[in-house]
């Protein structure tokens, strides 16, 4: 038990240390630069708040962490429903979709994997179109049902996989248990976002998906993958049960999936003609802007881990 706490504590201390170093660098840049750096400063400040919330919920209990993830899903879903076209007749359907959030996270809390895995893709998938047809309004039915289900999958189903990692037990080769895996996933996903952005700013030349996200470059993508890969190899022995081969595989899976999640939400925003999904996190935009990568990394990393180790 002592050992478990220690590995996680060291990992958390490392994250705080990294954030402190990054803040000093940002401060130095903003002092020296003639350009307006207020957004970067604001973004860094928001990182402190997010890391603080995450650390506290992480240290208090698994249950609190699950509640925090449920809140994140709720806020993301609310952002999604607020920015997409919806039908007035579907108000009740949206209400049912919101109710799926506490139910899905209850399956996590209850460690009921079978239900967790099918509740949204099977039961909500079948129920929402039925609830929608009760409005007796068929105009726009397909669009409504399609968009509601996608939002639920993206904001609730995908993200709940991060929370389910918490429930995974400690094993002989992984004393940090589920919390260690969650920390590994969240840290690398978020770090990869920053690394891809930073490499892109420093070296970015060749656009990678100009039709969707004109600021993304091959240099940013590859630089981010390489940095995250190295970091995965370094941190895996501390908080995961992975051997070197699996650590390397996770170190590629997370940055690549994170990139795909990022540009997927970018495509959605471009279709809707909005720059950010919201304004909840100063300097970052909405909550969906922050967890876009996680919508892809969480389920993929979860099943990778579950297949090889649980």
């Amino acid at each position: 038990m002592n050992l478990q706490l220690q590995a996680l504590h060291w990992a958390l201390i490392g994250i705080w240390g990294l954030l402190a170093v990054a803040s000093v660098i940002v401060y130095a840049i903003s002092r020296r630069s003639s350009k307006d750096m207020s957004e970067l400063v604001e973004r860094t400040r928001s990182w402190w708040v997010m890391v603080a919330i995450f650390t506290v919920s992480f240290l208090v209990s698994n249950t609190l962490s699950i509640v925090v993830f449920a809140l994140i899903s709720f806020l993301a879903l609310k952002e999604y429903f607020s920015m997409i076209p919806t039908r007035r007749a579907d108000r009740r359907v949206l209400f049912w979709a919101y109710l799926a959030v506490p139910v899905q996270y209850f399956w996590v809390y209850d460690n009921y994997y079978g239900m967790f895995a099918v509740f949204i893709p099977v039961y909500m998938f079948l129920f929402l179109p039925f609830a929608s047809l009760l409005t007796q309004q068929t105009e726009g039915f397909l669009k409504a049902v399609g968009t509601l289900n996608w939002g639920l999958m993206l904001c609730v189903f995908s993200i709940s996989h991060a929370a389910f990692l918490l429930i995974l037990p400690a094993t002989s080769e992984n004393s940090a248990g589920g919390p260690g895996l969650l920390l590994f996933l969240i840290f690398l996903t978020q770090f990869n976002d920053v690394a891809q952005y930073t490499w892109g700013k420093l070296l970015g030349r060749h656009k990678i998906v100009p039709g969707v996200s004109p600021n993304k470059t091959w240099e940013g993508f590859l630089g981010g993958v390489a940095t995250t890969f190295v970091l995965a190899l370094l941190t895996a022995p501390l908080v995961t049960p992975f051997d070197m081969v699996h650590a390397a595989a996770a170190g590629l899976l997370i940055p690549v999936a994170g990139f795909v999640g990022d540009v997927t939400v970018s495509a959605l925003k471009r279709d809707l003609g909005v720059k950010d999904t919201g304004s909840l996190i100063p300097g970052h935009g909405g909550i969906l802007d922050r967890i876009d990568s996680l919508t892809y990394t969480a389920p993929l990393f979860f099943h990778f881990t579950r297949y090889f180790y649980y």
Binding site: K78, T86, R88, R91
Partner: protein, 222 residues
């Protein structure tokens, strides 16, 4: 007794709006632009578009708790004072000033319907006015009633601050009791000052609302 009736009502009002504030922040979530333009000292008039019962709640929730007693929403007497219980709640908790709307039976109104508003502005209160007169179809603005221009004329020193809200009618439209969470936008405009002409004043106000509602492209909702 330390707390006389007045004090009790104020405490009740504060407690009520603390609950509302938490609910508004959690269930809705507000994106407020230029909050600093919202007047907290009277006499002043806040003019907002009207989509939902949530409109008043949200505007009140944006005010500092200590100022609540001086913020007065203006609302239809026939709706908010239709029963003794409703009237008590409207007067003491919501702090509503009743305005008599056009009588359906065509009879003359008993007195100047705006008298309550004049008195409140004279006392240095902040009024919240919904010059569309009715919530109407959610998220659609209708023509503004000109009562507000009479207030501005009588109190030319009181700033008139336009507030455009979007999303509250989606969350709780007229005729519904089911609150569905949506992020809501609250755009506060520069104050308008009285320049001596009622028609010109109303046109300026209408233009301000048009400009505020054009600040963002809102998601379609039919």
């Amino acid at each position: 007794m330390l707390f006389h009736a007045q004090g009790r009502h104020l405490m009740l009002q504060k407690a009520f709006y603390i609950v509302i504030r938490v609910a508004v922040l959690f269930l809705l979530g507000l994106n407020v632009r230029r909050k600093e333009l919202l007047p907290v000292q009277g006499p002043a008039i806040i003019v907002a578009n009207h989509n939902s019962h949530l409109d008043t709640m949200v505007l009140m929730a944006l005010m500092p708790l200590s100022r609540l007693k001086d913020i007065k929403p203006v609302a239809a007497a026939d709706y908010f004072f239709s029963s003794p219980a409703k009237a008590w709640l409207s007067e003491h908790v919501l702090g509503i000033i009743p305005v008599e709307r056009q009588r359906k039976d065509g009879k003359e109104r008993s007195k100047d319907p705006l008298q309550g508003c004049y008195d409140a502005l004279g006392d240095g209160k902040v009024l919240i006015l919904f010059p569309e007169g009715s919530r109407g179809e959610p998220e659609q603005m209708t023509n503004l009633k000109k009562g507000v221009s009479y207030l501005a004329e009588r109190f030319p020193q009181a700033p008139v601050v336009p507030v455009f809200t979007h999303g509250l009618g989606k969350a709780l439209p007229r005729g519904s009791f089911l609150l569905v969470p949506f992020f809501c936008d609250i755009f506060i405009g520069e104050p308008i000052t009285w320049e001596g002409n009622r028609i010109q004043f109303m046109n300026t106000l209408q233009d301000r609302f048009a400009a505020l509602s054009g600040e963002k492209t809102f998601a379609p909702w039919e």
